[in-house]
Amino acid sequence: MAALKASKKRKAVTRDVEEEAGVFSGDELSSKDLDGALSDNAHDLLSDEDASDSEIELIDDYSSSEEEDDEELDSDEIPSEGEDEGVVKKKSTAVLDLDGLEDREESTKEEEEEEQLNYRIEKDANGNDRYVYDEINPDDNSDYSDVDENSNTIGNIPLSFYDQYPHIGYDINGKKILRPAKGEALDALLDSIEIPKGWTGLTDPSTGKPLELSQDELELLRKVQMNEIPDEEYNPYEPLTEWFTTEKEIMPLSAAPEPKRRFVPSKHEAKRVMKIVKAIREGRILPFKPQTQEDEEDKDVIKYDLWADEAERPDHPMHVPAPKLPPPGYEESYHPPPEYLPDKKERKAWEDADPEDREREFLPQDFGSLRRVPGYENFVKEKFERCLDLYLAPRVRRSKLNIDPESLLPKLPSPEELKPFPTACAAVFRGHKGRVRSLAVDPTGIWLATGGDDGTVRVWELITGRQLWSVKLGEDEPVNVVRWRPGKDAVILAAAAGDDIFLAVPPIADPETEKASLDLLDAGWGYAASKPAPKPADEEKKSTPPQWIRPSAALADSGVCVVIPLRYIAKTISWHRRGDYFVTVCSGASTPASVAIAIHTVSKHLTQYPFRRRIKGGGPPQTAHFHPSKPILFVANQRTIRAYDLSRQLLVKIVQPGARWISSFDIHPTSATAAGGDNLIVGSYDRRLLWHDLELSQRPYKTLRYHRKAIRAVKFHPGGRYPLFADASDDGSLQIFHGNVTGDMLSNATIVPLKVLRGHKITGELGVLDIDWHPREAWCVSAGADGTCRLWM
């Protein structure tokens, strides 16, 4: 195979040589028929392929090129390996030869032209004829044509000059003459000649025949020659059997300690010992260290033994003996049993934990023997800590609970998000002389009714502050309260002045509504008339319900339609939602309990006293309101609010706000619809505003103490469109709150203080006396003791 590789390497060279050969052959064939020459060549090549037997002859043919021989020799060797490969190889060489063939063809054609004309006529750049002569072939007509073409032309120089090169000189054409084949090539040729197997060239002396050696004998000879063990059975690479293993046996054959008899005393050591003993005897080495001077000096320092006379002391709170430490356990051992040693996980957990959180201050460690125990690494640190302890130096930073007090407060929405709510005064209603005691915005939200100390009831245009109507109800008695009848079908204003209640129809409505209002008020006359007139004797009794009467002509002209002489000063009026009933409360201390609370029926001109007896505890009644949807009447006396079911005539609930003197209260308008139950706000003269969730407790859910003086009035925004409520105080300010009642039972009402509205002047210790909301907008109006009313929006 090595030879094959060599031949492949030389291929490129081979082809060059082949071409050269072609040219030469062309010259020879110049006079012959071209076709024949081609076919001859082809035949030659074919014959190359065919005649694999007659290599030697072929070699003669190609003797001019030694490389070709190699080629052919190669082709000889290949068949011995495998026919197929050999064929392929030969075909490839054939192709190479064909390439050379074409070259030859071209050169012969040129020579043919030469025979006829040795020039061509071409057109030059100017269009003139131009004779182009073929290159002169120096071979033609050469005087030296007889010179051997293959002779070396290097002249008279030593051939050793070419030792480095593959060629030995140049022929007449300047082509390299390759070095002729030497011994190697001849050896190769000889090798290729087949020698029968076992041929030795020797003669067997016993038989006289040529000595033939069998394969086994040859192998034997080879082994002897190679210095190998000639025995065929012998395997030099047998697997190793470890008779004496490399591994040490753990268990010794005998556990007995090595006997002392095996001890061989060291002579050298004995010599050394003897030397020391001799030195001690002679006094050269002292067994004890002589006392140094330093030790003697230390005697000057007085040393105290603190514990010298320590005696056991009895148990006493002032003396706590140091705790007795438990004896060390296995963990503390320098060589603890393996089960005490921490595994990887435990070690990691211990390392990750904070020093304070560790169960033990150390990890059990196995040092094997006591002499391997290192110095205690924390020694210095612990001594230092101990010193600090003794100095009482604080060094552990106690982390205080770092809680922002703000975050503990419940999250309240900011007032900006809760807009709209009244923020500024939009109108001032000036006209009343003296305090304005009460005011109310009519159900349409266009008019404002006010009543004051001057005994007048006035109606104003709400947004502009224009007074449109005024009537003087009492000469020297103040108007204590004005309230519009709810509902837009009629415009009726109820006012309490002095001992009387007045029902008026202000001339602000259109004829239709005005007529409806008048009809509503007039309808009761007939009903009242149908009843038997009260006996004079009953008139005397104070508990007899009063008869409704027509007003004086002057009042009737101004729009007052009905007068109810209550005989006591009514301080509050509260209409039922439907507008047929209203409740008045005469809160004066001198009023008999039985007539303090009166319910008036407009359609029947009827006044009833539902309570015969004084409410137990809490003083005289202060104010009363109907529940916005249920037939429940809330009555507040000085300290409690009681809810009475009017249909069943029962006391339903007692609310105890804890205030000393309730001034007013209001019921949340959507209490009816919200599932959360009734919500009340209560204002008291002791400066408190209390929010009650009746479902929650009798006690207030929230107590708001923001006013400096008594709260006079509290009011929810009606209709529930805006979750607002407001209170009015004697300190001259109003406070607006956001009070959102959610429908579900789980969340309590959110109460956010929104705005303090200031503007009313404090007159005679009184500030704002009444407050009311616009029925639709987030606007509120307030009545001040300074004689003005203000619209806030």
């Binding site: 709209p420 500024a424 939009a426 109108a427 502009t464 259109d510 004829p511």
Partner: protein
């Protein structure tokens, strides 16, 4: 060139920017060959104004305002560039216009009672459209007062005519709205729930006249807050507190009969009032249509400035409603978050300005395609804005009268963008002369007490006319208050 000189002189001082000064008004325009000028960025309005005056070679300097990208320069150029992220390398297009001249007080006409509404009759007022009868100086001012009387004033603060008393067919309650329909006819309405049409005649000398009742229009069940008249189609819109918008005809023949139940004679009470109406008989008519839809008192109603078949109304129920007046149908409802108290149409911007109870003016795009309800908010008043009028000189101008006792002039260009959208600030504020006379010009009245402005009107000839709780009509010069470009 100026360019090089200016630049060399102040090169070291500070950053400079190349500005191109332009003006749309020819009389103050710079010559055409004026190229971009390099100016220091520290310049403010005054310095720029001086620069332009120098360039123009004016003997008497004209104050100028400078508009960059449609907004007035209120800071130095440097701050403007920084605020808007504009590179100083670019050439800045600056448009300059004549600066606003503060409106000056001209006259006050005293009344006996609060003046609720005013209207002006002049050549340019809508009532006189088509007739040039009103000579300069012969303008008339109509005032409606809370005492129930209409008054017609000439410019010399003389009352030419007063409407008759309730016994002679006049308003039996306060007048809330009064408008000239034409130079010879007047419409008024008030808390007595009627719209009344009057015939107005003047004597030859122009110093006396008569207001004669013509028609009483019944239909509203509550006070009427405002009126809008469209003279050419003889239509009136009224906004009433009974939640309805009334649509009326000014012609007696067109109008249907009045609803019986609303006539004053229907009321069973008030014999006195029946007596009042007995002396003069005036024909009574009803509405063409009552546009119902609002759920709260309607505060203002107007015709579309370009299309008389479209009406707009605003109400306390927070909504602005668009009405098709031909079919009396509700077209569109835009709900805001505040009670709306006044309305004015700005046809050039397709916007409706409405004054709110929340002390600002909201500009609403009424078109259905508008994505946001509020296009711009004008803030500055401290009380409810109850009256709005357009600037006759500029499409960007607007005046508002508020219960805080001021009239504020707004320029829609003078805006800045806030987190809640574009917010404008007023250009000028006109306070009441009555306050100044009392020597309390600077004192603020809580809730506008005594100085509330109820009505404001801006006429090209007469100026800014406003009336209010101080019982007087106040006239301020309105020309050139706002740059007209």
């Amino acid at each position: 060139m100026d360019t090089s000189q200016v630049s060399v002189s102040s090169q070291a001082a500070q950053r400079q920017v190349r500005v191109q000064l332009t003006s749309k008004q020819e009389d103050i325009a710079l010559p055409d060959n004026t190229g971009p000028i390099l100016v220091p960025t520290g310049l403010k309005r005054y310095a720029l104004s001086t620069l332009v005056n120098n360039l123009l070679g004016n003997d008497k300097p004209i104050p100028f305002e400078f508009l960059i990208n449609g907004s007035f320069l209120r800071t130095s150029i440097d701050e403007y560039l920084t605020a808007n992220g504009i590179s100083a390398e670019t050439t800045l297009e600056i448009e300059y216009v004549r600066a606003l001249i503060p409106p000056l007080h001209i006259a006050s006409f005293e009344h006996d009672d609060w003046v609720s509404s005013i209207d002006v009759l002049s050549t340019s007022s809508p009532a006189s459209a088509g007739s040039d009868a009103i000579a300069r100086g012969q303008e008339r001012i109509l005032s409606g007062s809370y005492d129930g009387f209409l008054r017609v004033w000439n410019m010399s603060s003389q009352v030419i005519a007063t409407s008759p008393s309730p016994t002679d067919g006049g308003h039996i309650s306060s007048i809330k709205a009064a408008k000239f329909i034409s130079p010879s006819s007047i419409a008024s309405a008030g808390l007595d729930r009627t719209v009344r049409l009057w015939k107005y005649t003047e004597a030859e000398d122009g110093f006396s006249g008569k207001i004669v009742p013509q028609v009483e229009l019944y239909g509203h069940k509550s006070g009427i807050n405002s009126l809008a008249v469209h003279a050419s189609t003889n239509r009136i819109l009224s906004a009433s507190a009974d939640h309805n918008v009334g649509f009326w005809s000014t012609k007696k023949s067109d109008a249907p009969a009045a609803p019986e139940s609303l006539l004053p004679s229907a009321a069973s009470r008030t014999s006195k009032r029946r007596k009042l109406n007995a002396s003069v008989s005036v024909s009574q008519r009803g509405p063409l249509a009552l546009l119902s839809g609002h759920t709260a008192p309607v505060s203002d109603a107007i015709f579309d400035a370009r299309d008389s078949t479209v009406g707009y109304s605003v109400s306390w129920d927070h909504s602005l409603r668009t009405w098709d007046l031909v079919t009396a149908a509700l077209v569109d409802t835009r709900t805001t978050s505040h009670s709306l108290l006044s309305l004015q149409h700005l046809p050039d911007h397709n916007l409706l300005a409405t004054g709110t109870s929340a002390r600002h003016i909201t500009l609403i795009d009424p078109r259905a395609s508008a994505a946001t309800i509020s296009a711009m908010t004008l803030r500055g008043h401290t009380n409810a804005v109850v009256s709005l009028a357009r600037d006759p000189h500029s499409i960007y101008g607007l005046i508002s009268g508020s219960h805080d006792g001021t009239c504020r002039i707004w320029d829609l260009r003078a805006t800045k963008t806030d987190k809640g959208g574009a917010v404008g600030e007023s250009v000028y504020s006109i306070s009441r002369k009555s306050l100044e006379e009392e020597g309390k010009a600077n004192s603020k009245r809580v809730g506008g007490e005594g100085v509330k402005v109820f009505s404001v009107c801006w006429d090209r000839e007469v100026g800014i006319v406003s009336a209010g709780e101080d019982k007087r009509i106040q006239i301020n010069r309105g020309e050139g208050v706002l740059s007209s470009s």
